[in-house]
Symmetry: D2
Subunit: 149 residues, 4 copies
């Protein structure tokens, strides 16, 4: 049992809104960072997929917002590739925050949000396409590794 | 049977991405425009709610992307308030595009995306709060009107 | 003497920041809306320029922020094409707000910001290119019209 | 002679536009990251300034775009505090890219853009305010350090 992949993002000033929270649409960009870095960590560079004439287009998005994120916080983005068929990938995400300065020792991280995206692989001309080699092998390895987390 | 509320948004250049489509996070902002104008159309100004010490925070978001939107298109945003309990509101959205210039006469609009948001009413200090008068009456009237669409 | 071209934009919730103002980067998007609509009003559709293999890339940007803009305000975007050489266009902008509800009769609009952009025309491959026919004629007509404002 | 402060930002997918470049408004957010990290590196946390009732509002912005930035590139953001009077701060920025994989050995970085912002210190109620202690001392130290770069 290993840990899920993590990367970080710091909340930018322009990502806040007048409620004093990070605006909810920005989590979508953080999910994108999460899956891009998850793929890179597994040897799969999304920019190279595009140079090979492929695109992963977001077909479905879901987010549950549990607690607000604040300006200048360093967020933890946890990403898992939970399903990969020939054409579609499903990633699941959690965004977490370290315990605050006043937290008791051993306090747990707070989960700020949970979400998922389903991505469809498009080939030239924008048609749904099975993910071709060598990307399919890399994707399968990622999914197998994430199944153990 | 009346029609659902509609408003429009034109796709901005900065809302496109290098895939040549409107970036998927922007739909979230369009949903926000949709519900703000739906409420305004029913006499309920969200900015006034905030001046009265209330906030509607997004607690849940779901989007299904069906077709891409392109730069400079004028999108139709269709919004329905489908549920209003004391604390939570559920809005449903469709984003549509008029038939293109080469479409056959009478061609239908294309649905680009469907989605929903659940909003929680927060009072001062960020606590969940029943929506107070006079906003509760306006919300109930909106929900009743939208139930007939 | 005619008036300068105007179009409007309403400040979106996601465009505010925790200072309670419209975040300063959003004015750049409003300038883009201003020049796009200025061009469209003169018969020149920027999307068509791109379909013809041209791009207008921003080479220079300047903004002076005078007063903050607030959520839900309808801003006036005033745009003038003040210089058009073969390759470069200079647009100047002002963003204004109507007098508030408590203003005295005949109160003037408030100028929130002034700015400019210089755009360079790029052809295929991204090389600087003289703006070709028929766009050059349309641009010249726009500049002549704006010189009278 | 020391080097100017640097931090990095990776170009996000949503920051690209259909021209295939990073959209020009995003440089404004990168400048903000640059000055926030410059201040943090000198012991000055902007979030703490806000908690103390102060705000640094952008009063002026200028950008010269020299070369495009592309998706997934790691950009270098170079920031200098070049002037600090009692109320106003002027920061200057350069955004650079490391030489590409095909570059000759010893090839220099490419400067993608140069810019500046002037920030005004606002106190409670939004009035221009001299930067108070202890922030004034930290700012003076930053300006002195940056004058040697």
């Amino acid at each position: 049992m290993t840990s899920a992949h993590r990367t970080t993002a710091r909340v930018r000033y322009g990502e806040t809104d007048q409620m004093g929270f990070a605006y909810h649409a920005n989590y979508v960009a953080w999910f994108e960072i999460g899956r891009t870095e998850r793929m890179r960590d597994g040897g799969l560079c999304y920019a190279e997929m595009e140079r090979a004439g492929l695109a992963l287009a977001v077909a479905e998005l879901g987010v549950r917002y549990l607690r607000p994120a604040f300006y200048d916080e360093v967020l933890q983005i946890e990403t898992r590739l939970v399903a990969a068929t020939g054409v579609r990938l499903r990633f699941e995400y959690r965004i977490l925050r370290a315990p605050g300065p006043g937290a008791s020792p051993g306090a747990a991280e707070e989960v700020l949000c949970e979400g998922h995206t389903v991505l469809a692989c498009l080939g030239r001309g924008g048609r749904p396409t099975r993910i071709p080699a060598p990307f399919d092998v890399q994707i399968a390895a990622l999914a197998a590794a994430d199944a153990r987390t």
